[in-house]
Amino acid sequence: MNELKLEYLKLKKKTRSWLGPILVFWLIMLAFPLTVEFMQDKLEIGFFSVLWIAILISMMLATEDIFIEDYNDGSLEQTIIKNTSFQFLISIRIIVYWLMIGVPISILSFIFSLGTSEDLLLSISVIPLSIISSYIFLNLFALGSALSLNKGSLLGALITMPLALPVLIVLGKSIIAFQLGINYLEFILLLLGCLSIIIIAVPIIVSFIIKAHLE
């Protein structure tokens, strides 16, 4: 998988692009208990809400320049005139971003939630949720980023926001389901279902959008 290696190389060198979102995630999770004087037991109430929002935000940050750099320096043209599949390259890039940013954040989510709720099972249940949701968000925002290749455009934000909100709602409900001991698996399956559609659809749409922008 030479493509994977090359994408990894590029992302690795842009420390700000991958470590930045992780730091922001960390900042949010750290800031949350600092800004309110909660009792430890009340902290849990808002915690998961903030956790999902933090994942959402850091994924949004991560994808900000996922395509725009290539667009500006002319690399996209070089990629398009090659015979290799453009869609495939897009998927690869999203996967690399997920491995470098989404997965570490999922692990951090686990640690933070363990630190807050002190309930090991609940914290473990956070891992699949955050792993899947970070992947979904990455795909969504990659789409948004492609739509906003042109600086003036807000299209990306307009389209991705309504798509991201339902995911957030499902995430919120899953935790409650887990706490009540019902349906947790069903929610995971629902997310996986979304993911599988998105994984296939997003690279196709994105490649179409980018080609339209280059024209």
Partner: protein
């Protein structure tokens, strides 16, 4: 030398927002031939190249290219990663194992800079690095948009010689340049 037609353009026209760049343009090129697209600034040379590459669609007409290999293209932008060293950029172009890499690095005098970030290179050095894509190409069709820009005299000569050699190897060349150069080629004048 067998003269197979390699590029045929039939009646292509292009317009953006009522700005007609060219109209009913037709030409054909055989392998081993070269086409110099001329015209003043903004006459649509770069656009024509992008149409030949298939990046842009012409408003009318059609282009057919007789090759299944990747095309070799170099535009106004170098497609380099600023924040990576020269070495890493070569890796990204997937030339790290190319047999001629060493030779051209030597010729272009880039050896000393292999671990310098591209952002720190001089304008001409960046252009040279971009030209590696051309020097190490393995395609039939070479498309260049102002390749001589920013190069010093010496490198311009190296490039001209290289292109002449490529034509002898039966490749097809299409290029634009405001700088005169000694490549034996057909001319297409826009506007």
């Amino acid at each position: 030398m067998d003269n197979i037609t390699s590029v045929i353009a039939e009646n292509i026209s292009y317009k953006v927002n009522d700005n007609k760049l060219f109209h009913n343009l037709s030409f054909s090129l055989n392998t081993g031939e070269s086409l110099h697209i001329k015209g003043p600034n903004g006459s649509g040379k770069s656009t024509l190249l992008r149409i030949i590459l298939g990046i842009t669609n012409p408003t009318k007409g059609s282009i057919s290219i007789n090759s299944t290999k990747d095309k070799c293209y170099l535009g106004h932008k170098n497609a380099l990663k600023n924040y990576l060293s020269l070495d890493d950029n070569i890796l990204l172009m997937e030339f790290d194992n190319h047999p001629c890499l060493k030779k051209y690095i030597e010729i272009l005098d880039l050896k000393r800079y292999l671990d310098v970030n591209v952002a720190n290179l001089s304008y001409g050095q960046q252009k040279k690095l971009g030209l590696l894509r051309l020097f190490l190409n393995s395609s039939d069709l070479i498309i260049l948009d102002e390749p001589f820009v920013g190069l010093d005299k010496e490198t311009q000569i190296i490039l001209t010689d290289f292109l002449t050699d490529q034509l002898k190897e039966n490749k097809t060349l299409i290029y634009t340049s405001h700088i005169e150069c000694d490549i034996d080629s057909k001319t297409l004048l826009l506007k």
